[in-house]
């Protein structure tokens, strides 16, 4: 066992872990942060994306011991209390999901993308999230959500935003 100390979603944690424990296993099994999901376990799908010291990584491809001394942000650490992060809000408003399994990784990667490039073109968005697979193939609204977040057009008003966005999406997707 190896002792590790790190900060996860703003909270200091310390544990003894087996060196072979993956960061994603640590987050889910030790900390109960099941918001970060395991999709493929082969670093292809990006569902397990988290931020390690501010950079997006696939947490199924990093050992927990490698995060010793680091700061990890998961999908569960993005919101400020009950106020969603603008990218989360944009995903909700644009209905950027179908089954929702890829959503945590998509959002974490989109946050990373917008940090480097606050005003990406559609192509830059698609290239920026190429490491994240949506098996429902729902990329259209995901790209739209990133564009919406980038443009700062997130209303943040659940009452006003939700029904209109839903109606529009349904019209398109029937």
């Amino acid at each position: 066992m190896t002792k590790i100390q790190l900060t996860v979603d703003g909270a200091k944690v310390s544990d003894d872990v087996e060196p072979r424990m993956l960061l994603v296993q640590y987050l889910r099994e030790k900390l109960g942060k099941t918001g970060t999901v395991i999709g493929c376990d082969t670093s292809n799908c990006g569902a397990c994306t988290v931020h390690l010291d501010g950079r997006s990584v696939k947490s199924c491809n990093v050992l927990a011991v490698q995060a010793d001394g680091s700061e990890v942000t998961t999908i569960e650490g993005l919101a400020e209390g009950s106020v969603l992060h603008p990218v989360q809000e944009a995903f909700r408003e644009c209905h950027a999901l179908q089954c929702g399994f890829c959503t945590p990784g998509m959002i974490m990667q989109s946050v990373d993308l917008l940090k480097d490039n606050p005003d990406p073109s559609e192509e830059e968005i698609r290239v920026g999230i190429e490491g994240n697979l949506c098996r429902c193939t729902g990329y259209h609204n995901i790209v739209r959500a990133v564009q919406t977040a980038a443009a700062g057009k997130v209303s943040g008003d659940a009452e006003a935003g939700s029904p209109a966005a839903t109606a529009e999406t349904e019209k398109v997707e029937v």
Binding site: R55, N61, D112
Partner: protein, 284 residues
Amino acid sequence: MRTTSFDYTRATSIDEALGALASGAQVLAGGQSLLQSMKLRQASPQHLVDINELDELRAVDLEDGGLRLGALTRIAELCVIAEVAAMFPSLQQAAKLTADVQVRNRATIGGNLCFANPRSNMASTLISLRAEVTVRSDGGSRRLAVEELFSGYLQTVLSSGDLLTDVHLPDPGRDARGAYREISRQPNGVPVVNVAVAVAEGRVTGIGVGGLGVRPLRARLVEEALTHVDVNDPRAVDEAAALLAGDLASTEPLSDMHGSAEYRLEAAVVLLRRLVLATTNERG
């Protein structure tokens, strides 16, 4: 699947890393290929020495008109380092086509070379740029050309105890240009074949080819032939590119589910011809 159990050492100095390596440990750098193969139980090291804390392996310096890249330089950094963009555009092209953002954020240039995937973007590009690596061990340090690093499929000439510490890119020459192209099943997938060409003053100075043999190759016969022909003459370039079959004779051809040996050779010759014509003829 989970990896087998192993001991883990986080090295705090190169000497500590070398000590662990001398006693049989294996290097953990970015881990993007190694952890995958460990999860698939294709590799089951007993002891990993993590070198990520060794800041001296992270340095990027100008060196004799060229560039020295520490082994821990992440592929994501190659995409944005201004000197790489200005002096070695083919390396930046190859970096941007490696895997995806998350993987590039972890994967390192040294780890990529040491994993010795014959289809690696980095390997063929660094070969075309005539790059060298520094390898350290308890006994001292030595330098070798990137093309001499690979001994077979996923195998290098390094022995246990060796640590690749730096990649040296020599002065690219005057009016240097270079380009990297690949054929892959999907964008940013591991390429089936890839070719990188380096050019200075309108002449080809290096050609690297990946995915053709069980190890990445330098196309010496093609390079040599191109020094004697007019690179503006497509037919002459065609004939020179066809000599790639002779260069492949130095190793075993790669043939797998991604492509037969015959397909790979034909595809590589076409890529090579196009790259030579594009890089030697474009101006400005």
